[in-house]
């Protein structure tokens, strides 16, 4: 199969089974893009999420563009991104043209009550997997704990945490370098 088509179809599949946006996409990305195809590593996926939250636009689109570019360059970036938006375009256009409010359906409400549970369990499960490649020593574990506590306690933009953590990483490097040279 054409490799761009494969990228496009993989992301179209991800777009059609992701309920709840960018974060909900993570467990499926981890399975299909990291484990199955090996297009990016777990570390890279975490990097893309970090940058994707601090740059303009939708996190899901930013992440798809990053992965597509990493795998197959600019055309790859566009293929992945068009793939991730296609299911939304089709499904939402159908719903909007039927003029029905699907959220009125009782059965769908029950189904979504269940799906909501699976979404956060999958996210937490994926986080546990990802933490193996991001939490490696006291420095990274304490950064994780501090950011997690702050995000749960105060309402601040993720930009602050991402920039702050990047600066901490850099300072640690400078500090270590000095330690080595003296």
């Amino acid at each position: 199969m054409n490799k761009y088509l494969q990228l496009f179809l993989t992301f179209a599949k991800i777009g059609s089974v992701t309920f709840g946006g960018g974060y909900a996409m993570l467990p499926i990305l981890e399975r299909d893009v990291v484990e199955r195809h090996g297009w990016v590593t777990r570390e890279e996926l975490l990097d893309y999420y970090a940058i994707g939250q601090t740059t303009p636009g939708i996190i899901a689109v930013n992440t798809a563009t990053f992965i597509g570019y990493k795998h197959l360059g600019v055309i790859g970036a566009i293929s992945a991104t068009l793939g991730i938006i296609l299911p939304s375009l089709i499904i939402i256009s159908i719903i909007a043209s039927l003029l029905v409010n699907i959220t009125d359906s009782e059965m769908l409400q029950h189904a979504f009550a269940g799906i909501r549970v699976s979404v956060y369990v999958l996210i937490i499960h994926a986080v546990i997997k990802l933490s193996k490649s991001s939490l490696k020593d006291w420095f990274t574990i304490s950064l994780f704990a501090i950011v997690l506590l702050l995000t749960l306690l105060v309402n601040m933009t993720p930009v602050v945490f991402v920039v702050g953590a990047g600066v901490c990483g850099y300072l640690l490097y400078v500090f270590k370098k000095r330690g080595e040279s003296s």
Binding site: Y49, L148, T151, G166
Partner: protein, 188 residues
Amino acid sequence: MIYLQLFYEFFKTGLFAVGGGLATLPFLYDISDRFGWFTESQLADMIAISESTPGAIGINMSTYAGFLTTNVTGAVVATLGLITPSVVIVILISRVLSRFQNDQRVQAVFYGLRPASTALIASAGLSVMSMDLLQLDQEQLIERVDWMSLALAVGLFILMKYRLTKHLHPIVFILIAAGIGILFGMGS
């Protein structure tokens, strides 16, 4: 030319909305205010539908808004407008990154970014979890635990860890959860 205007308005939204789908909301209210392409009550429907259909919430919203403005063409134009800025920006960042990926200082920055990124995702998962597990009791106005959700959450987690079922695709777990939701009339 309405399509040009539609593209431009969603392009601006995509350029200035940082932090995912729901961050586009204030921009959509503004568009509704200035152009009347869709009403505020239609926007409320849009949010509900965008959250309960597959796909990124921001993309669902722009598709819906564009469709209401004209038709399928409007849906495509609005969505392409929304994603264009971030596609360009992300490609530019990727180029810079691939040039400096072996630079020790860049690696040091990412060493700090990854735990923060993990924490932000964990936090998103945990806040959805606490909203779901702690439901407000309308009569007594106290938070109470939704035991059915808790049982399903624990059950799913065990399945994801269990030797024989842990390799199942995430979609399978989502389908199981949907089925159980219907079977037990969850969320009512």
